[in-house]
Subunit: 270 residues, 2 copies
Amino acid sequence: MTVFAGQGDARRSMALLWRTADPPQVRPGPRPALSVDLIVTAGISVADAEGMAALSMRAVGERLGRTAMALYTYVPSKSELVDLMYDHALAELPTDYDLAAGWRAAVTAWAEDVWEFYLRHPWMLQVSPARPVLGPNEYVMLETVLRALRGTGLPAGVLRRVVGALTHFVRGAAQTIAETRRAPAETGMSDEEWWYARSALLQEVAPDFADRFPVMTWMDGEGAYRSEDETVPYLEQEARETFAAGLAVFLDGIETAMSRNGAGRTSGRP
Amino acid sequence: MTVFAGQGDARRSMALLWRTADPPQVRPGPRPALSVDLIVTAGISVADAEGMAALSMRAVGERLGRTAMALYTYVPSKSELVDLMYDHALAELPTDYDLAAGWRAAVTAWAEDVWEFYLRHPWMLQVSPARPVLGPNEYVMLETVLRALRGTGLPAGVLRRVVGALTHFVRGAAQTIAETRRAPAETGMSDEEWWYARSALLQEVAPDFADRFPVMTWMDGEGAYRSEDETVPYLEQEARETFAAGLAVFLDGIETAMSRNGAGRTSGRP
DNA sequence: CAAGTTAGTTTATGTCGTAAGGAGTTGCAA
DNA sequence: TTGCAACTCCTTACGACATAAACTAACTTG
């Protein structure tokens, strides 16, 4: 897993991403029954439905009524396919946010949309962000937040880091919940059942828990781990609250940076 | 990849994690030449050196002069081994932070240690945080931050979410850089070379970049993407700055939450 | 129709996790 | 001392995976 972009021919890879292929001339040989787009869409369907682990060339081919090897006519390798899927999926993100209500509302809406998006496509979180794919839609997504965040008036250097940090947070938060969604189906255990069984085992295995972890025990006693809405799965509810609260904290921090910046400092810590 | 904990026998799994196995009685059969600890340590060596993708039962066995199947005497499956590796590695994190200098200094030090830790063990970031492993060292790590963050005086419910969000951020930030470290070796390309080649291709493939992404272009023009310290690899430098700045912003946000909380509100948005 | 190009299949290679069965060791009861 | 049960570790085997290589069949152009 976590494959790096551009292992093969970087030029071909970028051309595929940005769809700058030459027009479909008339060529000898059998008419192509597939296309890059068809394969990428099929790949996304497989990954959405069965998870990244189930994304195999065979599975994608099968979904299109072909063998695995048929795909290699259109796509150089599996890792390129994943890159293409990654960028293609990003296209479904909204790109316009109303800036009239202020940057904070826009950024919050953006973060929530991205979060929901990741929950719809959990496999996205398993594509390594180390060396970015550099596809068009990744840039569109970046440009979208940047437009909203420019309303903060922060200097370019600070802005760059803030965007990065915000992205990390959203990604990290989504990751915690993303696979949780599939877990109940795969393990045949609801979150509650799982948690209940686990905490029973915990007591069995660490009877001195309260002594070893006093602060955690205190938090537990304060009811910090009880959720209010019983209709939403436990772990999902918890993750949702953590996301909302964390985002608010982060945006508060941006406001602090703004006032510090407005007070004459150019950047950096106090 | 990204395997869920406790697929097999949850009780055995927890017993292995918390090392509550019965004492080594005298038993018939050949004396065991291996042990769970030996295997876990070997697994961590393999993963550290070659990455999670190269972590195979065969590879771990080989490092111990055994076959892959020999491991199954000690460890029920690969996914259990990964869980054990995960918790075992966490043991090397510091657990004591000086709280005299205030919660902020302690939390910053903690976050930096965790970040460095993840860079030392990038494979940790590929273990799904969805359904936590629930090993002893994971709890120790949590208790450690909690001890520092309790200095904020925030109520338990808020604290829980803040800790979660902070963890997400550190994880996300580490993830961006973690595999970047291996990338140059694997692709035979330094960060600069890679970036240079890529940006040339970008211009080739999207000559209208400035029109399509004006805010990004503005940021680039402001020199936001130029690093000061030339001795550190480009992408690593960038990630490091993003981490430090993002952490500061988040902690600023916590201070805001504190003052809001101290002013009489119990929780929630303004 | 012949030649050349392309789409897609079949087959094969070398990986992986792990099930099944067997070989060799050891402690203990008879 | 002998036999047996419990144990470690190995060999072999299976079905999955990505993908290389060789092939078949469809199509355009001459």
